[in-house]
Amino acid sequence: MKLVIINYGAGNIQSIKFAFKRLGVDAVLSDDAEEIKAADKVIFPGVGEASSAMAKLRDTGLDKLIPTLTQPVLGICLGMQLMCKHSTEGDTTGLGIFDVSVTKFSNSVKVPQIGWNEVSNLNSPLFEGIPENSHMYLVHSFYAPKCEELIAETMYDVKYASALQKDNFYGVQFHPEKSGLVGEQVLKNFLQM
C-alpha cells in the first residue's frame, strides 16, 4: 500500500502520519506529481487559511493535478473545503470537485467551532461500522452547506455537510486522526477502499 500525503506546506501533517502509522501504514509526504499519481491512496490535508493555501497549490500546479486523480482521495478539514468550488474565506476559488460553496458560521454561535460534535445521516462506505451520531473532533470557522454530495451532516449554527463524496473523492470536515477510535475506523475504511 502506497499512501501519499500531499505536501504543500499545510499545517499539522505529523498527526495524520502518526494516525496511519498506528494502523500500520507508513505515509509518504510528497509534492511530486508523478509520485502522487502513482499512489494507491492520497490524503489532502489542510489547516489554516483558504486563500493562502490555494495560492500554494497553484504555485506548485497541484491545483490542476488533484481533480484529475483517479485513486481514492481523502481531504481533511481545510483540504475538504478546498475541494469545493468556492470559499468566502479570502474569496477563494477552490478545486471545484464538490459543487458547493463554503461559507462562515454566523455570530449566533461561538466561532471557531472547537470540540466533539455528532455526525449523522451517514451514507458512504467511508463510514462502514460507524454508529449514527458518533462524535468526531472538529475545529473550524467555515463550513460546506448541505448539498447533493453530502455523506454526513452535523448541527452547529445550521445543519451542514461534515463529509462529502463524489466518485473517488472524499472530504471530511472533522479530524479523523484526532477523533479517537471512531476516527481511526474512518481511516481504516479509507485504506480499504
Partner: protein, 251 residues
C-alpha cells in the same frame, strides 16, 4: 450538538509529570505519554501539557515529548509553558501538537497573538489568563500568578480575542486549589462577552462543580488536574453524571 469538553491537565518538568499521580494501573506514573494514553482511553476529550521546567534544554525536551505524545495519542492536545515566539510554536506544531497555550508572553508582547494567528490560524492559539480579584477587580497575574499586572481580566480577554486567539483558558487563582468550585460568575461574564470558547480552570472538587461551570458558568470546557490524577473524580463517571443532567457530552 457540540459537546462540553473535559480536559485533564498534566504538569511536566524535564519531560516527566509532576505533582504526582495515583493511577494504580500505570507502569510508570511519571511518564506523560502513558498517563495521556490512559486519559484518552477513559474518555478525556482533550489534554493539556503544561511545561514548568526551567532548564536550558527545555525547548528540546518539550519538543521530544510532543512528538512522543502525538505518536501515541488519538485525541487533541495543547502544549503550554514558556512559549514566547513564532519559532517555539512552529517546532511544537511540526512535532504534532494541535494547539499551543501562551500566557505571560502574550501580556508582554500582545502582537505575538496576531503573529501566531496569522501564521498558524486562530484554531491553534489558546491564550491562558490567570487572574484574581483585588478590591473587587479581576486582575491579570503573570509568572504562575506571582506578579500582578494592571490588566483587567475582561478587557484583556476581549483584546486577546480581537488579536486572533481561538480560545481562552481562564484560571481563577482565587479558586485554584480550593476544590470549592470554578469561578462561575466570572466565567459566565467572559462567555457572554466573547465569541470564542472559554475553558474553565481552577477549583474543581466535585462532579457538581463541573455541572455548575457548564450551566451557570456557561463554560465550553473544564480543565482540572489533581481530582483526575488522584482518582477523586473518574472521568467516565463524571461524564455519565453530566449526561444525566442533560449537559451535552461525548460518552
Amino acid at each position: 450538538m457540540l459537546t462540553k469538553r473535559i480536559i485533564p491537565c498534566l504538569d511536566i518538568k524535564n519531560g516527566r509529570t509532576v505533582k504526582g499521580v495515583n493511577f494504580i494501573d500505570l507502569r510508570d506514573a511519571g511518564d506523560p505519554v502513558e498517563l495521556a494514553a490512559k486519559y484518552a482511553e477513559t474518555g478525556a476529550d482533550e489534554l493539556v501539557f503544561l511545561d514548568i521546567s526551567a532548564t536550558e534544554e527545555r525547548r528540546k525536551t518539550l519538543a521530544d515529548l510532543v512528538l512522543r505524545v502525538a505518536e501515541k495519542i488519538n485525541i487533541p492536545f495543547t502544549v503550554g509553558g514558556g512559549i514566547s515566539s513564532v519559532e517555539d510554536v512552529d517546532i511544537l506544531l511540526q512535532n504534532g501538537a494541535d494547539k499551543v497555550s501562551i500566557n505571560s508572553s502574550a501580556v508582554k508582547n500582545p502582537k505575538l497573538i496576531n503573529e501566531l494567528a496569522a501564521k498558524f490560524g486562530s484554531q491553534c492559539v489558546v491564550v491562558a489568563i490567570d487572574a484574581k480579584q483585588i478590591n473587587g477587580k479581576w486582575t491579570v497575574h503573570l509568572v504562575g500568578g506571582k506578579v500582578p499586572t494592571d490588566l483587567d481580566l475582561f478587557e484583556w480577554a476581549q483584546e486577546v480575542e480581537s488579536r486572533g486567539a481561538g480560545e481562552i483558558l481562564f484560571t481563577s487563582m482565587d479558586h485554584d486549589g480550593t476544590k470549592a468550585g470554578f469561578a462561575d460568575e466570572a466565567l459566565a461574564r467572559l462567555s457572554e462577552l466573547l465569541n470564542i470558547p472559554v475553558i474553565a480552570s481552577g477549583g474543581a472538587g466535585t462532579m457538581q462543580h463541573f455541572t455548575d461551570t457548564f450551566t451557570s458558568g456557561k463554560a465550553d470546557a473544564a480543565l482540572a488536574a489533581s481530582v483526575f490524577h488522584f482518582h477523586e473524580i473518574d472521568i467516565p463517571l463524571l461524564k455519565l453524571e453530566l449526561k444525566s443532567k442533560n449537559i451535552p457530552i461525548r460518552l
